[in-house]
């Protein structure tokens, strides 16, 4: 019976992509090791090399099993080269490592196009493969080859496009185009195409004139000077166009698309075996407890009452343990997100000519997988920002008395129910004058307004705000910090910035540990129960009715210890009957979100409990001021209040008007959602 291999494809793709990520990390480690030794040539660590080789080898094996010929062919070339490095036949220089990194990209895009079934642009991949193939012949036999590698920037292989159109009288000058073409051919891989369009008819053709033109593609480690030299004799007698063909990037868009579609698919989760073991243990205990309880129930007498109670206590403990171990399965170390930055920083610092060291602290801190997946983009953006705007060029740094190599530090730690991630650089810091000037120019603030440094720093989170002097493809397109903030807010977190001129910038990202369970306080309003997230509660006080005021006909305010905040009557906000209209009968819960406070008038506080978050939008839609729903112990549904949404409502002064339903900007509502 033929086996349908397609059922294994998914596993293969996942394993391969994971293997590639490993290769990438290891290659970067290899390079870093070399940099620390201060050598151009890296002394290869056999352990690292083996890891890289194994990854390439299993991709090759897997793809040949499943018949992805493109992937096999490429992986084979890569494997051969890695083998050569392992045997010491090929020295892993910086250039070789860059090429290997590029190969990782190629393999990744090949695998992704195999997965999506879409044919990608293969010319760039072929290009890399050619370079890989030419590596060996060039490297060991002729360490000082005729074309010095150092002549081209970073020793890169260049792809020249030359349009050579000799003038008619070329032959009269004693030059022969054939000689030029031969010479070019000696330099590297050369493809020549003759252009015969200006060739006249036989009757009008003069044998001493040159009618032909050539289009030449030249590939190899060749500098512009070398090419110019070839043409130096004929430069006066021809029109010459020498262009560097831009190295095709490996369609990063399609990779991003594929990754996005990966997220959309119900992704799988890799779980360490100890975690599963712990889960099975807990389930075992739960079964024992259940057996014990049903035994007590089947021959129940009041003598057994104490045993029943102890059984229920045990059940409670088992349930909590079960919950913890199930949750821990969803938890992944942040290094998953951090490692993605290694490559970005490596590539970018080379491109920008900056020297940067990326340092991680606490990357083993665990956080929900959903959070990790959606955290990668904002983190990449923050790192990119630090590199592009923060870290100065080496010369500038030396002039400022700082070490030549900049430092970007990612630090993660747990604090209460939150995970805090700091992205800190030791660059030039935010330029408050420039931000302010830009904000005035954009009409965001008036030039006469006086803002504190903190307020100015906050401006960078506004949409369309970028002070980059030139728009690069790296950052500074104005789609920046506002997107970062929105992404993080949509995870129920927050992001803040602190900066010191000349000393650096620090972004602090705060995220909830998990999106699935929330510590809440259940409150009663009329007949209804609502859940307030515990993190947003500051305190609760008994209401002093004389402190409620309504200045100048605006919405109500409450004065608490000389601090004034909006006074929100939940019953009016939600159009429900309150238990009593007497203010002193109720309680005031002071909540805080995004740095703003508000007082919520509720009838009663019922108690603190953990609730499972159920998304309302799954079968309905988002509701303003409600972040999600949950199911209470008695099986009824309770709404989880969205504190930032409520506060926005209050600060907008619409506490008494009917709020327009459903037009809450989805991006700014802090709605933790489950996938």
């Amino acid at each position: 019976m033929p086996i349908d291999m397609r059922q294994f494809h998914q596993t293969f793709f996942e394993e391969s992509l994971e293997g590639l990520a490993n290769m990438e990390t290891e290659l970067l480690r290899l390079e870093k090791a070399g940099a620390e030794n201060g050598q151009e040539t890296v002394t290869a660590d056999l352990e690292i090399l083996n890891t890289i080789f194994r990854a390439a080898h299993s991709i090759k094996g897997g793809s040949s099993t499943f018949g992805f010929e493109d992937v096999v062919a490429f992986a084979h070339v890569l494997e051969t080269r890695l083998d050569a490095i392992r045997d010491g036949r090929l020295r892993p220089t910086r250039k070789v490592i860059s090429l290997l990194l590029l190969s990782v990209d190629c393999l990744r895009s090949l695998i992704i196009s195999a997965r999506t079934g879409k044919e990608g642009d293969n010319s760039a991949i072929d290009d890399v493969r050619r370079q890989l193939e030419s590596l060996e012949s060039e490297q060991p036999s002729s360490p000082a080859s005729t074309v010095p590698v150092s002549k081209t920037p970073q020793g890169k292989i260049s792809h020249w496009q030359i349009m050579f159109r000799p003038h008619l009288h070329l032959f009269h000058t004693g030059n022969d185009p054939l000689r030029i073409l031969r010479e070019l051919n000696d330099l590297g891989e050369c493809h020549v195409q003759a252009d015969i369009s200006s060739l006249p008819g036989w009757d009008r053709m003069k044998p001493e004139e040159c009618y032909l033109a050539w289009k030449i593609e030249l590939i190899g480690p060749i500098s512009r000077e070398t090419v110019n030299e070839v043409f130096s004799w004929v430069a006066e007698d021809c029109s010459l166009e020498i262009k560097l063909k831009p190295m095709q990037s490996l369609a990063p868009r399609s990779i991003a698309e594929a990754v996005a579609s990966m997220d959309a698919q119900a992704g799988t989760l890799r779980v360490s075996v100890p975690k599963v073991d712990a889960l099975i243990n807990t389930v075992g205990e739960l079964v024992i407890t259940q057996t014990m309880l049903s035994l007590i129930a089947s021959n129940f007498s009041f003598d057994n009452l104490s045993r029943l109670f102890s059984g229920i206590t045990q059940l409670e403990r088992n349930t909590r343990e079960l919950q913890e171990s199930v949750m821990s399965i969803r938890m992944l170390p942040l290094s998953f997100a951090f490692n993605r930055l290694l490559r970005l920083v490596h590539d970018m610092s080379q491109r920008l000519g900056k020297k940067v060291e990326l340092v991680f602290h606490g990357e083993q801190t665990e956080i929900d997988k959903t959070v990790i997946d959606r955290l990668i983009d904002p983190l990449m953006h923050l790192a990119r920002n630090s590199l592009d705007h923060g870290i100065e060029l080496p010369a500038e740094r030396l002039a400022a008395g700082k070490p030549e190599t900049g430092r970007i530090e990612l630090k993660a730690y747990q604090k209460g129910g939150n995970v805090v991630i700091e992205v800190r650089d030791d660059g030039r810091g935010l330029s408050h004058e420039r931000i302010f000037a830009k904000a005035v120019e954009r009409g965001i603030v008036s030039s006469s307004s006086k803002l504190t440094p903190e307020e100015i720093a906050e401006l960078i989170f506004l949409p369309g705000f970028s002070t980059a002097e030139s728009v690069s493809d790296l950052s500074g397109r104005g789609v920046g910090m506002d997107v970062v903030r929105n992404n993080i807010c949509s995870l129920g977190g927050s992001v803040e910035v602190a900066s010191q001129a000349g000393r650096g910038t620090c972004f602090t990202v705060r995220l909830p540990l998990t999106l699935a369970i929330l510590d809440g306080l259940s409150i009663q309003v009329g007949e209804h129960t609502y859940i307030l997230p515990l993190v947003s509660i500051v305190e609760s006080v008994r209401i002093r009715p004389e402190q409620v005021s309504r200045p100048a006909g605006s919405s109500e305010m409450y004065g608490l210890r000389k601090e004034y905040m909006p006074f929100l009557r939940l019953n009016e906000l939600f159009h429900i009957e309150s238990r009593s209209t007497d203010l002193s009968q109720g309680l005031l819960v002071i909540v805080e979100a995004e740095g703003k406070k508000a007082g919520l008038y509720v009838d009663d506080l019922l108690g603190q409990q953990q609730v499972v978050i159920k998304n309302l939008a799954t079968h309905y839609r988002k509701v303003e001021a409600i972040s999600a729903a949950t199911i209470l112990g008695d099986g009824t549904v309770a709404m989880i209040l969205d504190v930032p949404g409520l506060i926005r409502l209050a600060h907008a002064g619409t506490g008494h008007a009917t709020p327009p339903v459903g037009d809450a900007p989805a991006s700014t509502t802090a709605t933790p959602t489950l996938n």
Binding site: K614, R621, I631, G635, T636, V637, M639, T658, G662
Partner: protein, 169 residues
């Protein structure tokens, strides 16, 4: 369930479709049975703040939060007193669940293609968009509803503004 299966076998040959029929303010309505997940009795429903009046709230359906729509209010009819016949029809439209409160369910019937006709259009007609077709069954008029439109969250949005004004006005 037995009889449903028997009818099902007959279905494809005669180009008949099956509808669940229910009663609302004296009128019979039908919904394609393929869209029905289950029928359940009245349960505790938690209201959603600031939502249109006909969205009664949400229901805990074995751990899934399902919005419940009162079809009487949706059609602008008077709200009925709940009795033992009041049921919630849980429909599954493209993966989204929604509960529909109706006065009582009646039957599952087969409707042949030649029994169905287009709903006529006339002036001052309300809720025309929810009516898919009309059918004559045993001399009685059966209104076949377009469930997709009825429970679509977007169409819930559209009518929201008007309703909330009405509620507060």
């Amino acid at each position: 369930m037995e009889s449903v299966h028997a009818l099902d076998l007959k279905g494809p040959q005669t180009h008949e479709k099956q509808f669940l029929t229910f009663r609302l303010d004296g009128q019979d309505y039908g919904i394609s049975i393929l869209k029905i997940q289950e029928i359940k009795g009245w349960d505790k429903i938690t209201p959603i703040p600031n939502s249109p009046a006909y969205v009664k709230g949400v229901l805990n359906l074995r751990g899934v939060i399902v919005p419940v729509i009162d079809l009487r209010l949706r059609f602008g009819l008077k709200e009925a007193v709940r009795d033992i016949f009041t049921v919630i029809i849980v429909a599954n439209v493209g993966g989204r669940l929604a509960g529909i409160v109706v006065d009582a369910v009646s039957d599952v019937i087969n409707v042949a293609a030649d029994q169905v006709c287009e709903a006529p259009e006339y002036e001052g007609q309300q809720n025309r968009e929810f009516i898919k077709e009309l059918a004559q069954v045993d001399g009685k008029l059966l209104v076949l509803l377009d469930l997709d439109r009825l429970v679509n969250p977007d169409s819930l949005d559209k009518t929201t503004a008007a309703t909330s004004v009405a509620v507060n006005g």
